[in-house]
């Protein structure tokens, strides 16, 4: 599966993978974002595990395909299969839970190692409605994010704060990346075949397999 922003319909397609521990509220965060106030909720067959959002930004039609992942630690090793070919990753931690932030840092290392600089990283501190119980200092998180080339956001899925901004900003970053990529290989047809490079990515993942049993 090639890493392109492919679409033959004049619109861009971005794959965004959602990473984070089980209780950090990553699902509510996305549900809140794609929730449509004027229509009934219509989910895909697999419900909140996969959500799409279509937006118009800077005159460009964009589809965000948001892939949820299983947050359980035991399934950590399977992450690479989900986040391969993603254009962006949203890493969610709970500001009241230091452990969840450590987990995010682990993810960042892994993503940078495997996907390199091409992936846009968004580190999200969720549950800012519980600021009183905060265990992860905002400055620390911000500084860390900068150091790894990620953008830091603060949200509350419960009170719907910062979520719209998070996705808007992330999409803008993705657009800019797509543009620069486009300039780079303007001569290459975006709808061309699968990138042979992909095979190599898969191979590097293969030895990582482990048994959860």
């Amino acid at each position: 599966m090639s890493r392109n922003f492919g679409s033959n319909l004049g619109q861009l397609h971005f794959k965004i993978v959602l990473l984070g521990e089980g209780c950090v509220g990553k699902t509510s965060l996305v549900l809140r974002y794609v929730e449509d106030k004027f229509h009934e909720k219509h989910f895909s067959t697999i419900q909140a595990s996969f959500l799409t959002k279509k937006i118009n930004l800077e005159g460009q039609r964009v589809t965000l395909a948001i892939w949820d992942t299983a947050g359980q630690e035991r399934f950590h090793a399977l992450g690479p299969i989900y986040y391969r070919d993603s254009h962006a990753a949203i890493l969610v931690y709970d500001i009241t839970d230091q452990d969840s932030f450590v987990k995010v840092q682990n993810w960042v290392k892994e993503l940078r190692r495997i996907l390199g600089d091409k992936v846009v990283l968004a580190i999200v501190g969720n549950k800012i409605d519980l600021d009183k119980e905060r265990n992860v200092p905002a400055e620390e998180a911000l500084e860390y994010s900068k150091s790894v080339g990620a953008t830091h956001y603060q949200t509350s899925a419960k009170t719907n704060r910062g979520i719209e901004e998070l996705f808007l900003d992330l999409t803008q970053q993705l657009l800019r990346m797509a543009e620069s990529q486009n300039e780079l290989n303007s001569s290459i047809n975006l709808t061309s075949n699968r990138n042979p490079e992909v095979v190599i990515v898969d191979d590097s993942l293969a030895p990582k397999k482990s048994c959860c049993g």
Binding site: S2, H42, S44, T45, D68, F75, I81, P207, G213
Partner: protein, 743 residues
Amino acid sequence: DALRTPVRRLIRESRTHPITLVNSGRFSSHWFIILTDVLVHVSGSSNHVTYPLATIWVEPMQDSDNIQTKNGLSLTMPEETMTLACPTAGDKMEWLVALQSAIRHALLIDDVGSSSSGRTTPPLVRSASYTFTKLPHLKDVTYKGAWLCGKMHGEGELNWPDGRVYKGSFRQNQQYGYGSSESFGPNGSTYEGSWKDGKMNGYGILKYANGDVYEGNFQDGQPHGHGTLKRGHFLTSAAHVYVGQWEAGQKCGYGVMDDIVTGEKYMGMWQADARHGQAVLVTLDGLYIEGSFTNNKMTGQCVMLLEDGTSYEGEVAGVGILGGKGLLQFPNGDIIQGTFHGSWSDGIKINATLTKASLTAQSPLSPPTGLSIGHFQQQNGSSGVPAERKWGAIFQQCCSTLGLSPNCTQWTADDSLRAWDQIAAVLNQCKQRTTNDHHIRPKIQHHLSVEIPEILQHIPDYGRNQLNGDEFVKIETYLHMALESEIHPLGKLAAQIGDVYRATYVGVGAHPRLLPHAVSEVHSFVSRVYAFVRLLFPALPEDRAVHLIPNGMYNKILLMTEPSNDHPQELQAVVSANTLLLPVLLPRLYPPLYTLYVLHNQKLDDLYWERLQKWNRQSDSALMNFLGVDPKFFIEEVAPEGSHFPTAVDCLQQLSTTFSPGRKLQVIHQTFQEVSRSVQAHLGADYVMNMDDLFPVFLFVVVRSRIRHLGTEIHLIEDFIDKHVQNGELDVMFTTLEVFLFL
């Protein structure tokens, strides 16, 4: 006097009723006598020639200025023509009537019956027997069958004095159409098939006296185009099967040769009956070789892969014989670089440098065997004959059936119309054969029982200019019928593709290293067949492009779908070469292809299967606990050893019984639907699952559905789905299934 027999009666002779031979010598004397069954021509005093009346066509000549042919009669016999002239018009009439009535009599046509119908002239088309005496290539040959004006024409039988027989159709004195021939002696053979201009031309089967059989195309009496030659038996010293291209009786172009004695399989180029050019070879011992041949000998650089993972890349001195500079790599990563001489079975002399992988700084090139293939494998498939250069003759044949020039690839609207006409003609011919099947044609006979489906009997008016959902369904139905049909040109093409694919990848060809070749061959078949399909239905998208049509109105044929942009709830049908053709082509190629996948993924599948067996011994609750399924999904009413998510499990089990990747994806999609349905039935319609919930539940379903070759299924789907499916819901589902292999 020699002609005197009891049944012969004199009917008329030229001494009393004068008639003379035109253009004869001045002093020669000619005497013509009509007897009951023959016309006798006595020239001089003793020489006479007899002509059987049954094979004489007589015609009064138009009166012309030429004095010689005035009142003339023209006689046509199988081997000559004669012009006779009478002194008066009255004599001419008398002779004509006498001849005609004698001929009719000889043909055993009842005079009374036919005179009542007012006919006096004998028919132009007759059935008669005749033995040739003059024509050099037919001397002493007896013909029994239909005639037209002195020529063999229609169904008939030729018998040579040496025992050779031809039974079949004739046109203008030559074998033409369907016929069979048989000859004896050491060079004897039997042939059954198509003829043209007196020679084997078109499709046929030729059996030689020594037991060899050639089945395929002929041109001017020689194998030409695509064909299969089976030589020898399993017990003889030289036995092989060749499937491939021929030129003027010689192997030429791409072909696959199975050497039954040595167990070697050659897949490569040929020239003048010899192996020549790029090739891939596999042997019974599991050796895989890529290289090139010159005049039947393997030379130059090659890549050799052994079953245990050892590989050699370098110069060779023959098949499986190392000879020259090269690089030998062992499964553990150790490398020997230098010069090599010898074969694997007799030992190899080496003058080289050994590099231990474990002791050098450089990281091992290939990951552990089993999961990955190593860097040699990634190269393989690049050498050898490119898939699009294989089996060209089959596609050229289809081109000529459709009335297209084989060298041109840019077909026009005119070509499209011509192709449809040709298809109509082919189907019509078969229909006619069905209606007057008075000849026994074993090879074609089983076609006779095949009814031409209604949909194929009309030239479609859809898919020409535009494509909507309705038209697409029609096209799909048409193609399905056409490719299944044994008489439709596309059906024949599909059948041949199936045959050559089987010939290549069954037996010794079932070699795991051949998988990349087999996969690219399927892709090439799809795109080459699609070229014809697009010629017939120009509204279809170009190869490698996809076209989306709203799927709202039909659910019968659900293809790969993804939400449309404007109506997120509505699914769209995806039209592409793959979605259109794989469902109809793949079933023909499936068994060998699937076997290759199974062999290739054996280690992966075995590991998975072992794990699965172990897990499946647990009860539902134990297994769900183990997989981390949230307790809220446990259904207490289900007995301890009862089953959870039975509908989803049932559904996923269909994965191994469907043939096309599109259908397989659909099965996966339905499985998730069933999971959703079960969960909502249990926890309420408002319950929304996220991946934390869904993932373990789905694992449970996969474990319980016990799919034997999951790795195989997954890789097969992955290799054949269109790339646009990515980033959609199906991609998530597929990935979630794929994850199972990495647990």
